[in-house]
C-alpha cells in the first residue's frame, strides 16, 4: 500500500432543514423556487491520513465530526469536493445498526459481517472470537430482540472490530456496555492502533484522544479550525471550552431564575482535575413560588447519568441571593454536564428551573476515565 489511506479534498456537505413532504413543498420543489433552509454541515474540509496513523476529530456538538465520518465511510457523498479511501474500512458508528431484531445472534453475526464486507469463510473463522469477545456464548442462538441494550451493543462492537479492517472509524462507541466492557473495547481499539491500522476517532474525552491518536483535527461549525498533534489540539480544545460553557438556560417556572456565575477550583484556579475541590457560584432569584424549593446541583455524564448530586439543606429565601457551593470533585476525567436546579424536596419530578453548563475535568490517566467516580482512598504500602 502506498499513498495516503484517507484523502478528503475540499469537501463540503449540505443538508436541508425542516420537514419534507406536503403539497406546499411539492409545488415549491417542482417550480425550483425558494428552497428549504440549508445547513452546511461541513465546509471546504481538507484532510489527509497516512496508513497506520490515527487521527482524532474533536469539536463541540454540531461541528460536523459525525458528518465527516459518514463521508469517509462512504455512507453518503460530499455535496462538493471529494473523499478517497484506500483499504477495507470498518466503522464503529452505532454498532449493531445492521442487526435484524428477529434473527438470532448467530444469524446476525453472519449478516452484519457480510454487510461490513467479510466473506462467509472469514466470518466462520472468527465466529468464536467474536462471540467470546462479546461474552454472549449462552445467548448466541437467541433472537437479538430479546437482548438487553448492553448485549446488543457488545455483539455489534465485537463484529465490527473483528472485521480485520485496514481503516477503523470510531464514533464515541467506546461508551457502550458496562465499565469492564468499555475498558476492553478501548484496549481493543488501542491494540488496533498499535498494529498500524488507520484509525479515525471522534471523541469528547481528551484523555482518550491523547492516548489513542497521533494527530487531531478540531472542527467548529463545519470548518477545520486547528490541526496538529493530538496533544496540541486536545489542549487547544480544552482551552476553548474552559472554564465552562453554558448549554441552555431552560425557561421553567417564571418564579425562579438561576444564573451560573462561575465554575472554578476552590483555590481560584480555572483548570479542573479529578480530586480537586470544585467551587460553583450562582445567582438565584425566587419571586414567589413554592417556599419549600431548594437548590440542587448535579454533575451528569454526557449520557445523562448523574455522577455527583448535592442538595442545599436550606429552602430558598424570597429574594435574589448568591449561592456558593464547594465539593470534592470525585468524578473521573471527562466532559460532564453540570446542572443547577431548583426543585421541591421529596418530589423527584418537580423541577422549577434548571440551568446547565459543560464542564471538562482533566486527568491524564485513561484508566481513571473507565470509572465513574474516583475516591480519595488512604493507601498504606509497606
Amino acid at each position: 500500500m502506498s499513498g495516503p489511506a484517507i484523502v478528503v479534498e475540499n469537501a463540503s456537505k449540505r443538508y436541508y432543514l425542516g420537514a419534507r413532504g406536503g403539497l406546499r413543498h411539492l409545488g415549491r420543489e417542482l417550480l425550483g423556487g425558494r428552497r428549504r433552509e440549508e445547513l452546511w454541515a461541513l465546509r471546504d474540509v481538507d484532510l489527509e491520513l497516512e496508513p497506520g496513523r490515527s487521527l482524532a476529530l474533536v469539536g463541540p456538538n454540531g461541528a460536523g465530526k459525525s458528518t465527516l465520518l459518514k463521508l469517509i465511510s462512504r455512507v453518503t457523498k460530499p455535496t462538493r469536493g471529494s473523499v478517497r479511501v484506500d483499504g477495507r474500512l470498518s466503522s464503529l458508528i452505532e454498532v449493531g445498526a445492521g442487526f435484524h431484531p428477529e434473527l438470532t445472534g448467530r444469524e446476525n453475526v453472519f449478516l452484519n459481517g457480510a454487510i461490513l464486507g467479510m466473506s462467509r469463510r472469514e466470518i466462520a473463522r472468527r465466529f468464536d472470537d467474536i462471540v467470546a469477545f462479546a461474552e454472549l456464548e449462552r445467548f448466541i442462538d437467541t433472537p437479538v430482540k430479546r437482548y438487553s441494550s448492553g448485549m446488543f451493543a457488545r455483539l455489534g462492537f465485537s463484529v465490527a472490530v473483528h472485521t480485520d479492517p485496514a481503516i477503523l472509524l470510531v464514533d464515541e462507541v467506546l461508551s457502550v456496555g458496562d465499565a469492564r466492557f468499555r475498558r476492553r473495547s478501548y484496549e481493543r481499539v488501542q491494540q488496533l492502533t498499535r498494529e498500524h491500522r488507520t484509525v479515525v476517532v471522534v471523541s469528547h474525552q481528551m484523555s482518550m484522544v491523547r492516548r489513542l491518536c497521533d494527530r487531531a483535527v478540531m472542527l467548529e461549525a463545519g470548518r477545520v479550525t486547528c490541526t496538529g498533534t493530538a496533544d496540541e489540539v486536545a489542549s487547544r480544545y480544552e482551552v476553548a471550552l474552559r472554564p465552562h460553557t453554558l448549554v441552555e438556560a431552560s425557561v421553567g417556572d417564571p418564579q425562579f431564575q438561576i444564573d451560573i456565575l462561575d465554575i472554578r477550583r476552590a483555590d481560584g484556579g480555572r483548570n479542573l482535575c479529578t480530586g480537586d475541590e470544585m467551587h460553583v457560584r450562582c445567582q438565584v432569584e425566587r419571586q414567589r413560588g413554592s417556599d419549600r424549593a431548594v437548590l440542587t446541583l448535579s454533575l451528569n455524564r454526557v449520557d445523562g447519568l448523574p455522577v455527583l448530586l448535592a442538595r442545599c439543606p436550606e429552602p430558598l429565601p424570597l429574594q435574589r441571593t448568591i449561592a456558593e457551593v464547594s465539593f470534592p470533585l470525585l468524578a473521573a476525567p471527562g466532559s460532564y454536564y453540570l446542572h443547577v436546579s431548583v426543585r421541591d424536596p421529596g418530589e423527584p419530578e418537580s423541577i422549577h428551573e434548571d440551568v446547565c453548563a459543560v464542564v471538562n475535568i482533566g486527568g491524564e490517566d485513561p484508566y481513571l476515565s473507565a470509572a465513574t467516580i474516583t475516591i480519595p482512598a488512604k493507601w498504606i504500602v509497606t
Binding site: Y15, R20, G21, K70, S73, R74, V75, T76, K77, L89, S91, I93, E94, A97, G98, H100, E102, L103, E107, F110, L111, A114, I115, L116, G117, M118, S119, R120, P143
Partner: protein
C-alpha cells in the same frame, strides 16, 4: 492466512455473499414466529389456486385445462407483484442501515427480487404437482420456465431500480405502487387468456410486457410449444430498457440515499 483469490475476485465473492446474506435475511425473517412458518410459502399459492379454480370453473368461460389456465399465469404474476412491491420498498425499509454503514446499495433491491423468486419456485413445484394430478402431460417446453422467469425478474429489477430510490424521496409512491400493481393485474391476462381481449385493442394491450409474457408461460406449460416471438419481444425490449434506465438512475442516486432519512 491470505486468501488464494485475487483482490477483485475476492471482492466479487464478498459482494455475492452479501447479496446472499440479504436474501437469507429476507427469507428467514418472513415466516419467523408465524405458527405455520415456511408452510405459508406453499399455502399462499395453494389458496390462490383454489380461489381461482372456483371462480373460473363457475364462470366456465375458459378454454383448455380449466384451473391451470389461471394458475400457470398466476405464478409469475404473483412473483412480479411481490418482487416489485418488496423491492421498491427495500431501500426505504433499510434506511436505518443505509444511513449508518456503507455497502453496495444495489444488493437491497436485488435481494428482494431473488427472495421473491424462492416463493415462485415453490409455487412452480406446486404447479407441476397440480398438472400431474389433473393428468396434463408435462411438456419438455416447461424447461424454458426458468428463462421466462429470468425475463420477468429483469423487468421487475429494472422497475425497482427506479422505484426504490424514488420512493425514498417521494414517500407518496408507497401508496401509488400497490394501486399501480392492481391496475396492471387488470391489464394483464392473468384471469383471462389473451384471446379474450378484443382484436382492435390488442396492439395497445401488448405494450404491457406482461401480456405476451404471461401468454408465453401458458404456451410452454399448457400448449407445449415455444413462446411466440411477437409475445416475447415487448417483454425483452421492456426488460432491456428498464434495466439500462434503472441501472443509470440507481447509480446516480445511491451515493446520497442516506441523506433522506
Amino acid at each position: 492466512m491470505p486468501t488464494s483469490f485475487s483482490p477483485v475476485a475476492s471482492q466479487g465473492l464478498a459482494r455475492f455473499e452479501l447479496l446472499m446474506a440479504f436474501v437469507r435475511r429476507e427469507v428467514g425473517v418472513r415466516y419467523k414466529e408465524a405458527y405455520v412458518g415456511v408452510a405459508w410459502a406453499v399455502l399462499q399459492p395453494l389458496a390462490y389456486m383454489v380461489i381461482f379454480t372456483l371462480l373460473f370453473s363457475r364462470m366456465g368461460k375458459l378454454p383448455g385445462s380449466g384451473p391451470l389456465v389461471a394458475y400457470v399465469a398466476l405464478v409469475p404474476w404473483i412473483y412480479a407483484a411481490a418482487a416489485i412491491g418488496q423491492s421498491s420498498q427495500s431501500v426505504l425499509g433499510q434506511l436505518g442501515i443505509v444511513s449508518k454503514i456503507y455497502f453496495p446499495r444495489s444488493v437491497l433491491p436485488l435481494s428482494s427480487i431473488l427472495a421473491a423468486g424462492l416463493d415462485a419456485l415453490i409455487a412452480f413445484v406446486l404447479q407441476l404437482v397440480l398438472m400431474l394430478a389433473l393428468g396434463v402431460r408435462l411438456a419438455p417446453t416447461l424447461l424454458l420456465w426458468p428463462f421466462l422467469m429470468l425475463l420477468t425478474g429483469a423487468i421487475c429489477l429494472g422497475v425497482s431500480l427506479i422505484l426504490a430510490p424514488a420512493i425514498v424521496r417521494f414517500r407518496d409512491l408507497r401508496y401509488i405502487i400497490p394501486l399501480g400493481l392492481q391496475l396492471l393485474l387488470l391489464a394483464s391476462p392473468v384471469g383471462y387468456p389473451l384471446d379474450a381481449v378484443p382484436r382492435h385493442l390488442r396492439g395497445w394491450y401488448q405494450l404491457n410486457p406482461f401480456a405476451g409474457l404471461l401468454e408465453s408461460f401458458r404456451a410452454i406449460a399448457l400448449g407445449g410449444h415455444l413462446p411466440r416471438l411477437d409475445h416475447l419481444l415487448p417483454a425483452v425490449v421492456w426488460a432491456a430498457g428498464l434495466m439500462i434506465v434503472g441501472g443509470c438512475f440507481f447509480r446516480a442516486q445511491e451515493a446520497t440515499l442516506a441523506d433522506y432519512v
